[in-house]
Point group: C2
Chain length 411, copies 2
């Protein structure tokens, strides 16, 4: 968690962290600033010191509200920087970063780079900075970064944020189920009061509305996929699809607070009215594996073993898995889960990172989401809960909701 960051930086030989970009929809910046209205900032955190936020003068109040040590970017007048670099704007921005580092006491050592922003612009500026400060080693990491390691374990206030967004999520899922159930059926299809078929686009519009009513949003969309689409794990669903009884619907919803705060993540598979035998058999395999994996979760264990376990369990039930062949498109084709927080996908990972493995440490929030996919049979099924590993090592399910496959509709 955040209080571990200095120790993690030490263990990984990092002397400072630079985070760039806005404060919203930019998890690594939000982690330090909270969800303030900052359209562009730079944040430098030296090891063993608090973070300093550099802000544009029009956003001085928002910057101050973060409680961080702040500094106005106008203290580095751009016209003068441009003069010094002969009009080269990329070099001028690099020179400004050099001054910011120097003023913060960072003049040598390893500096990790973070932030969701324009990758081309950053590439040019960071390379120019590297030329200006050869005594710095600028480090880009993958999804196993030091900062993501700190972010993986949530403190009590973060856990509470995640409970809050999950409660909102469950309310919205309940609204969706009630909404579907409130429709009449005609020729095995849900129809509205005007007799027209209900379409997936309309379900999604309602979801966005119910989330907005609760101060939440789905920055990455929502999966509401029926029939063949349900058989493709990340198919978001076809907007004009109608809702036919007996077809599997994969409903995967992962909202965050407005502006991109902590996420919830949850999936159920539904059949409206009834479940054909083939769908029921698929569901029962997923449900059995879901229960076995959930029961096996134990604080402190290596995460990748749960992916191995899931593959074994599905294989024993006769399904092809990604454990046998990375390229399959039918069977069990993805990971058993992922960490969840300010990113919808973050540490801990359930695949090995080089030689090391992430652990189910107290404080992490992970998803557990076994699924089976048979697009050729118009079938797909996934069940997903978000689980918080408490400081005491208990598994707290954040997404309590019935697991039933069949959603009753009006006769």
């Amino acid at each position: 968690m955040k209080s571990d960051l200095d120790a993690l930086m030490q263990a990984n030989g990092l002397d400072a962290i630079l985070v760039t970009g806005p404060a919203q929809h930019n998890p690594t910046m939000t982690y330090f600033t909270g969800l303030v209205h900052l359209s562009q900032g730079e944040l430098i955190k030296p090891r063993g010191q608090g973070a300093r936020l550099f802000y544009g003068p029009m956003e001085r109040d928002e910057a101050a509200s973060t409680g961080l040590d702040t500094k106005n970017l106008y203290d580095y007048p751009f016209k003068e920087l441009l003069k010094e670099t002969g009009g080269d704007r990329i070099k001028a921005l690099a020179l400004r970063l050099k001054r910011m580092f120097t003023d913060t006491g960072v003049t040598r050592g390893r500096v990790a780079l973070y932030g969701t922003s324009d990758v081309g612009t950053s590439y040019a500026i960071f390379n120019a900075l590297q030329d200006l400060m050869p005594e710095l080693e600028l480090v880009g990491e993958l999804e196993d970064s030091v900062l993501l390691d700190a972010m993986a374990t949530k403190d009590e206030s973060e856990a509470e944020e995640m409970r809050k967004i999950s409660r909102i999520n469950m309310e919205v899922v309940g609204e969706v189920q009630d909404f579907l159930a409130s429709h009449r059926v005609k020729d095995d299809i849900l129809v509205k009061a005007d007799g027209q078929p209900l379409q997936i686009a309309e379900v999604k519009a309602r979801i966005n509305l119910w989330l907005a009513e609760r101060g939440a949003e789905t920055p990455h969309g929502t999966i509401f996929a029926i029939g063949r689409d349900a058989g493709v794990p990340h198919s978001a669903g076809t907007p004009t699809d109608v809702l036919k009884l007996g077809e599997t619907i994969v409903f995967d919803i992962y909202p965050a607070q407005q502006g991109g705060g902590y996420h919830s993540d949850f999936t159920r598979t539904w059949c409206l009215g009834y479940a054909p035998d083939e769908a029921l058999a698929l569901y029962e395999d997923v449900w059995a594996v879901f229960q076995e994996v959930m029961a096996a979760l134990k604080a402190g264990e290596d995460c990748p073993q749960y992916q191995d376990l899931t593959c074994e369990l599905f294989e024993a039930r006769g399904h092809a898995t990604i454990g046998q062949d990375m390229t399959i498109q039918e069977g069990y084709v993805h990971s058993i889960g992922h960490g969840l927080g300010l990113f919808v996908h973050e540490r801990p990972w359930f695949r090995k990172q080089g030689d090391t493995a992430d652990k189910l440490d107290p404080g992490v929030v992970v998803t557990i989401e076994p699924g089976l996919y048979y697009p050729s049979k118009n079938l797909g099924c996934r069940i997903e809960d978000a689980v918080y590993v408490t400081p005491e090592g208990e598994m707290e399910i954040l997404t309590e909701y019935p697991y039933d496959l069949v959603v009753p509709v009006k006769a």
Copy 2:
């Protein structure tokens, strides 16, 4: 516009473009893919050829729906890449990019990098790619990039998207005005049916709701700032602030389609009930300058001249301007406008880019937004419309809405 891209690449000596990241909330990717549910992709566009989209296999249907030439990332098995790089994952990802470039026919020349994604990870991978392909020159540009040059001029279908989101925006602004006017006044403050003061957070929650009802969102928040906050251009407003009669409210709303499509952008300044003399005088200065600048707009002209004009006009009225002193915090402190599209701020810019200036070319959409700010007097005022320069060179206002300062409330 998009059809100019090859010619612009030629003129700027670019042989290819690489765009990385998801398809949502990533304007340069969305420009090619549309708003599909693609959580991570790579797109390579060689000059003179169509773009090729590389996608993850779980998102194959979404990738196909873009209509682009597509290729599955699993065609570059990661395990084998890892073997070739001795287990170095950053090098393996760079090697994959090298293969992707090579397979697309890009083996030499200048390649511009785009995309909103993790800047640290990209920095590491691009540098490793540069080592692997020394015959490529990887180019990072600033906000005057070649791709942003193409994006600046909208084709007819893009203009229609921008009209659509602006109509939605105007409906929501109307809802906000009606909502405010529907409240009772007690001790000069708007109160709800329960007698409690209406707070800004509640106004913003309604805004998000009315946008969601119309398929839109505000990915960067909304400015609804009263009193002193109105005097700080980018202050988003204090959530717990109440709505007091006679104080200036700066209401700046810039929504996009759900997922981050084309934007609208619009500002009005309102005083509830009545306007004190000082607020009215400020408003009249801004309104006069707004009208003069709007009347001066002419297709094909250099944009920065309108910033110069605005400074001259405000100075003639006795206000300090950023044209005289970049560091002022009272008076006219920002730019007269900016281009608008998939980015909320994009080309054309109203400041000079090095030695060149963006132009008000047919096809651009720009904001015109003069404002005056006196936080020490609890006063701020800005008026903003979005203007489309039609192919015929006419100025089409996309954000038609009354300009009145005073918003009537119940007696």
